[in-house]
Amino acid sequence: MERPPRLELLERRLVFVTGKGGVGKTSVAAALGLLASSRGQRTLLVEIDAKGALNDVFETGPLAFEPREIAPNLFAMAMDTEESLKEYLKLQLRIPLLARIGPLAKSLDFVATAAPGVKEILTVGKIAWEVKERHYDLVVVDASATGHVVGQLAAPEAINDLVKVGRVRDQTRWMLDLLSDPAITGAVVVATPEEMPVTETLELVDRLEAETQVPLAAVVVNKVLPELFGRGEQEVFDRLCGPALADPLAAAAGGRVAPVLDGARLAVTLRRTRAEHITRLRTQLPTDMPLLYVPYLFTRSHGVRATHNIADALGAELGY
């Protein structure tokens, strides 16, 4: 079957960013949010795990359920299923017992442990609600890591299968419509060029396809190391490393060069092994899957400065 032409990533209204732990999915989600907002889109960034990672990449202090504008056009919030439930009850059921909802939400949080999917639906539901109501042009979600995200994204379907009647079932229909529409929703999987992240990315791409209705929008390859040498330069480097040149090289450079050569050798090896993993990723993904490359950042820290750098790199990859 012919696939419909792919939309530009940020033309969608809802983007889930996921990937194996440690690959930098929070940085990529933050950077996408920053990029979109700087292009004039009113953007909401949602942190699911409440680990404070988004705070680290923006250095804006702890986030709350209530969205806060952390840069022009860029709003950020931390998911909280209890708060999400309170909001849902307020909006949907018009329950007059607002004062008593606190302990109620706590108990229901408890049901969530037992009744599968309740917690997930409160998370996905809140996000989908923001999209449906068009409170923002774009919602970017720093979603759960590989192990959890499928369960989360499949929650509306699972609930739809399990719950035959009731309010929750009524709610899952529009969520599914929204989540499964490639013109609205897209998942972005972040990988680093290493064995496990690439393997997990390929598996996750399959699982998203098989178990959820959320369309895959792009794969981001993060922390791509630079190529050190151009044509013919590797041979020069190999000669420089030979014992015969140790003394003349030290004289020319004004000191012992061995550690610098060792450093370059390590850089070359790392680059080479990582390139193999990139090749594996590229050859095993569907050919029309957009791959976006973000370079490894040799920076002092991972704060807001690094987020801007990643946003610039992604912007260049998207042709902005």
Partner: protein, 391 residues
């Protein structure tokens, strides 16, 4: 009276020699699985006895190396020939098993169900299948449960556990408590009361009314049915969860925190180590993984690298004057500039890493570092090589 605590270990070898359970924790992507397998392999090789590594989801080549691809949940012995091939005469045996969540839950149900009919009813229940398969929290508990089960069997001298990729490491620690709490809850009791009397009580309790309205009474009935079945295993479960919790704080158990020196994993490790202390659980060691080599800290080398970066033409001219064979001066200059710049780039990262290591190291008695390896560990030889670096 409690037995005296084991002496404080001075290295991983001593820690592993004096404990029965080692639990490796840390955020995703830091090399937890490989580290767990490496220390288990070292323990089997050097300390002897029967050592089991219980992993969650190893890289495929590592799984193959450990013989896990075919056996999975069942413990399998790593053939001694693999040690011999790696040039090691092992003192003991290395066994491996991979956690299969679904299979482990099924076993648990089989062990605790009062009769065959209940057992089959539970295994066939769609909610049960969803809880064990699709939804997230069951992983943490079942890993703990399986560890407990194997430890209690007394089949192994040492069990090294690789923890599941939890949303945060604390979920894993809290899993048994949460499970026990859940089975003792008021809510559960309410759910398993017959629907008719629940409606009566619903009149006086707005919570239940709302629960019915949100979830639909049919769904609640489904849940209730499932828990009525599950309730038959109540005593076994609660008792089990308590025992699992006790195992964690047993003095024979020790936690090993694995981290790279990147921002996210460091923060997670720090948080986790604080939580361990708060819960009076034993932090045995900190393993720092993928650490850049020391020589990036060499100040003299930094000066040389700076000179090569800023004045590559001068250096290239001087070099090609004495050794013309090395290449065209322009090309040599480009190479010198590139390697100088690369050294300075990596030095920034290495400096940051050293600060992170110093900060993290304050929390742990035993701190070991594993170098950045230029390839993934994929066989026993690789595991032992890594193991020796951190032993």
């Amino acid at each position: 009276m409690a037995a005296p605590a084991p002496p404080a270990p001075s290295g991983l070898h001593q820690l592993l020699a004096t404990r029965e359970i080692i639990i490796t924790c840390g955020s995703g992507g830091v090399g937890k699985t490989t580290t767990a397998a490496a220390v288990a392999a070292m323990a089997a090789a050097q300390l002897g006895g029967k050592v089991l590594v219980l992993t969650v989801d190893p890289a495929r080549r590592l799984a193959t190396a450990l013989g896990l691809e075919r056996f999975g949940n069942v413990e399998t012995r790593v053939p001694p020939e693999l040690f011999t091939a790696a040039g090691v005469q092992p003192q003991g045996e290395l066994w491996a098993a991979m956690l299969d969540t679904k299979e482990s839950w099924d076993e648990l149900v089989r062990a605790h169900a009062p009769d065959a009919e209940t057992r089959e009813a539970i295994l066939a229940n769609p909610l049960y299948r969803n809880i064990t398969g699709k939804f997230v929290q069951s992983h943490d508990y079942i890993a703990m449960e399986r560890l407990y089960e194997i430890h209690r069997s007394g089949r192994y001298d040492l069990i090294v556990v690789d923890t599941p990729p939890t949303r945060n490491a604390i979920d894993f620690l809290e899993a048994p408590e949460r499970m026990a709490e859940f089975f003792s809850s008021r809510l559960l009791r309410w759910l398993i009361t017959p629907a008719r009397s629940r409606l009566v009580s619903a009149a006086s309790k707005p919570f239940y009314t709302i629960a019915d309205r949100i979830l639909g009474s049919q769904f609640l009935a489904d849940i209730a049915e499932f828990f009525v079945l599950f309730q038959t295993m109540y005593d076994g479960f609660v008792e089990r969860a308590d025992a699992v919790t006790r195992t964690l704080s047993d003095r024979r158990t020790s936690f090993v925190v694995v981290s790279t020196l990147e921002e996210g994993p460091v923060r997670e490790a720090q948080f986790f180590m604080t939580e361990l202390r708060r819960r009076e659980l034993a932090l045995g060691a900190l393993v720092l993984n993928k650490v850049l080599p020391d020589w990036f800290g060499d100040d003299a080398a930094c000066e040389v690298a700076t000179r090569l970066t800023n004045e590559p033409d001068t250096a290239a001219a001087a070099l090609t004057a004495t050794a013309p064979d090395v290449g065209e001066p322009e090309q040599v200059a480009r190479v010198l500039r590139e390697i100088g710049q690369s050294f300075l780039d990596y030095r920034i990262v290495a400096t940051r890493e050293r600060e992170q290591a110093a900060e993290l190291g304050r929390h742990a008695g035993v701190v070991v570092s594993a170098p950045y390896l230029d390839h993934d560990v994929a066989d026993l030889e690789g595991l032992l090589a890594l193991g020796r670096r951190i032993w």
